[in-house]
């Protein structure tokens, strides 16, 4: 991006979405710049989950527009695979990995390299996996032949984030990335996010209920309330008190 001031990496304007008469999202608007961590916070049912699913391509919005790198996403092309092709990946909280498969398989999920048309190119997978783990500075994953269910939660989440960035995504959406992890593993994942942002210029959208984490990681914090992205704060200008008020009262 040579003209990074001109247009943001991602622009979301007045996006709305209803499910059978229930308006889950009334007006979702935000922008995201390269190398930025944007946190989205809000109570249950505030619309943050719907908002990121629209951005991820899983839901087609009823109205509004999404512009990625200056090009608008057309309604007809709005899909998960299209958003992936445009550089947006999601790390879902608990649905991100196949537990009985190895780390390389999970990293390559949906993109398994083939040999002679039908066979798995295992060597290519192992090499690329080592590359990605080295890039992420993840040293704890050694045995690549074990199913990931035998790994710690932090290691598993590293693989999931690794998958999101391994394929050159510019934007990674993290949906409650540490909700199921202990304090040490949470710190491990937070370090990973910061490393990736600093080294590769990747942008993150972070959904989290952990307000301390949000204040540690995010450059900007977006508050959703009753289906509207109502307030936005810079990291420096926010206290926990104000954040809680914004989330619960929308002010």
């Amino acid at each position: 991006m040579n003209n990074h001031d001109a247009s943001p990496l991602l622009l979301v304007e007045h996006v709305s979405k209803s499910f059978g008469g229930v308006q889950a999202l009334r007006d979702g608007s935000f922008d995201l710049n390269r190398g930025e961590v944007l946190a989205i916070v809000g109570g249950n049912g505030a619309g943050k989950s719907t908002l990121i699913k629209v951005v991820a391509g899983a839901h087609v919005p009823d109205g509004g527009r999404i512009v990625i790198k200056g090009r608008e996403v057309l309604r007809s092309e709005h899909s998960v695979s299209h958003m992936q092709a445009r550089g947006i990946e999601v790390v879902y909280q608990d649905l991100a990995l196949v537990p009985n498969m190895t780390a390389p398989y999970n990293l390559f999920l949906g993109r398994i390299p083939k040999k002679w048309g039908i066979f798995v190119d295992e060597r290519a997978m192992r090499e690329k996996t080592r590359d990605v783990l080295a890039k992420l500075n993840v040293t704890t994953v050694q045995d690549l032949s074990q199913p990931i269910s035998s790994m710690s939660g932090g290691q598993q989440q590293s693989i999931a984030i690794g998958r999101a960035i391994a394929w050159g995504s510019d934007i990674v959406i993290l949906d409650e990335p540490t909700a199921a992890l202990g304090p040490n593993e949470t710190a491990e994942v937070e370090r990973l996010v910061e490393d990736v942002r600093d080294q590769h210029g990747t942008s993150f959208i972070l959904i989290s209920h952990n307000l301390d984490q949000v204040r540690r990681l995010a450059d900007r914090i977006l508050v959703t309330h009753h289906g509207v992205t109502s307030r936005e704060f810079k990291r420096d200008e926010i206290t926990s008190d104000r954040l809680v008020k914004a989330i619960t009262l929308g002010e």
Binding site: A58, V80, S81, Q84, V90, Y92, L95, A96, L97, V98, P99, N100, M101, Y105, L109, G110, I112, K114, I118, F119, V120
Partner: protein, 333 residues
């Protein structure tokens, strides 16, 4: 094996895990030693092992079909009926088109499998219920179409009765005997191993059994994949039906009755959890072989058939109870 009888500390969790991995191999070794001890040379003879080598292939191929499906977390109990249907159509194909018509039998199996897959994926009916219904329907269709009579494979053309359908195919009959049947089974096993362990399709079987939702999220079309799985397993059943036709020398409406249970038992004896996600071709072969040996050994030892069924059931429970890692099982359904 000395581990278990020696002092307990020798059986660390790591070793228990390793031991569990080898249960199918230990089981088959024990079974062979047991029957050798009971029946001596009557069991451990070239003649008897030739017989076992002829008996195992059909069950092994059916177990392969079941393995593909079980790995994805589904089950197919219609394969016995599908076997009868396929071998009948294979025989009919030979009546109509000559020797090459046997291939109709393989495709008939594929058709039944694909039908299962379509009903399960598109109507979203669980595989157990779907294949139960197909089991009933297909068996009835075989009886209707065959009018209750068999088609025989003969050494030379029979001039005899007008009601008797027969096909002269000495080559097929010799395919059903040792060593041809054994060589054919070995070749199919080799292909199955490469297919299941090394291909993208084979890995995807495990992944679907592990977490189907994730695969959908990353954009893999699990619905069409499952239809393909059932169709591929069906083709394997069709192949088993042709081997069975060669082995039995006739396509009868009763062929393969209850054999789906043997196929499931062989897969389970091979250490494959019926909940999906894991499996092994080599261990499935061992499972099919174990089942055949036990049945054969009990017969030689003079155990009445009903009691030998009881023994097989007990063996199945024992093998799974030992090989199952209970600490990894949170819900038993």
């Amino acid at each position: 094996m000395t581990d278990t009888s020696a002092a307990l500390p020798l059986l660390t969790p790591k070793r228990a895990e390793l031991l569990r991995d080898y249960v199918p191999f230990i089981a088959i070794a024990l079974v062979i030693l047991l029957f050798w001890a009971i029946s001596g040379d009557r069991f451990m003879s070239m003649r008897n092992w030739t017989f076992i080598a002829q008996q195992t292939p059909v069950l092994m191929l059916l177990a392969f079909a079941q393995l593909m499906i079980v790995t994805t977390g589904s089950i197919d109990i219609s394969i016995g009926s599908s076997l009868a249907f396929s071998s009948f159509l294979g025989a009919l194909g030979m009546l109509w088109f000559g020797d090459a018509g046997l291939i109709v039998g393989i495709f008939a199996g594929g058709l039944v499998g694909m039908t299962n897959g379509l009903i399960i994926s598109l109507l979203k009916i669980p595989s157990f219920v779907t294949t139960l219904a197909v089991l009933i329907i297909v068996r009835a269709v075989v009886i209707i179409v065959s009018d209750g009579t068999a088609i025989y494979i003969t050494d030379d053309s029979v001039s005899g009765g007008t009601n008797i359908s027969s096909v002269a195919a000495p080559w097929l009959l010799s395919m059903g005997k040792f060593p041809a049947i054994f060589i054919l089974a070995a070749i199919v096993a080799l292909f199955m191993w490469a297919f299941y362990e090394k291909t993208v399709f084979g890995q995807q079987l495990r992944a679907v059994g592990g977490n189907e939702k994730v695969l959908r999220l990353v954009g893999i079309n699990v619905t069409t994949f499952k239809i393909k799985v059932f169709a591929a397993a069906g083709l394997m059943v069709g192949l088993a039906a042709c081997v069975n036709l060669a082995r039995a020398g006739a396509a009868t409406p009763q062929a393969g009755l209850m054999i789906e249970l043997d196929a499931i038992a062989a897969v389970a004896l091979g250490g494959t959890p019926l909940t999906g996600g894991y499996g092994s071709v080599v261990k499935t072969i061992i499972g099919a072989l174990t089942l055949t040996i036990v049945r054969n050994g009990l017969t030689i030892a003079g155990v009445p058939p009903s009691w030998s069924q009881v023994a097989l059931g007990v063996l199945l429970i024992a093998a799974i109870a030992i090989s199952l890692n209970r600490s990894k099982v949170d819900v038993v359904k």
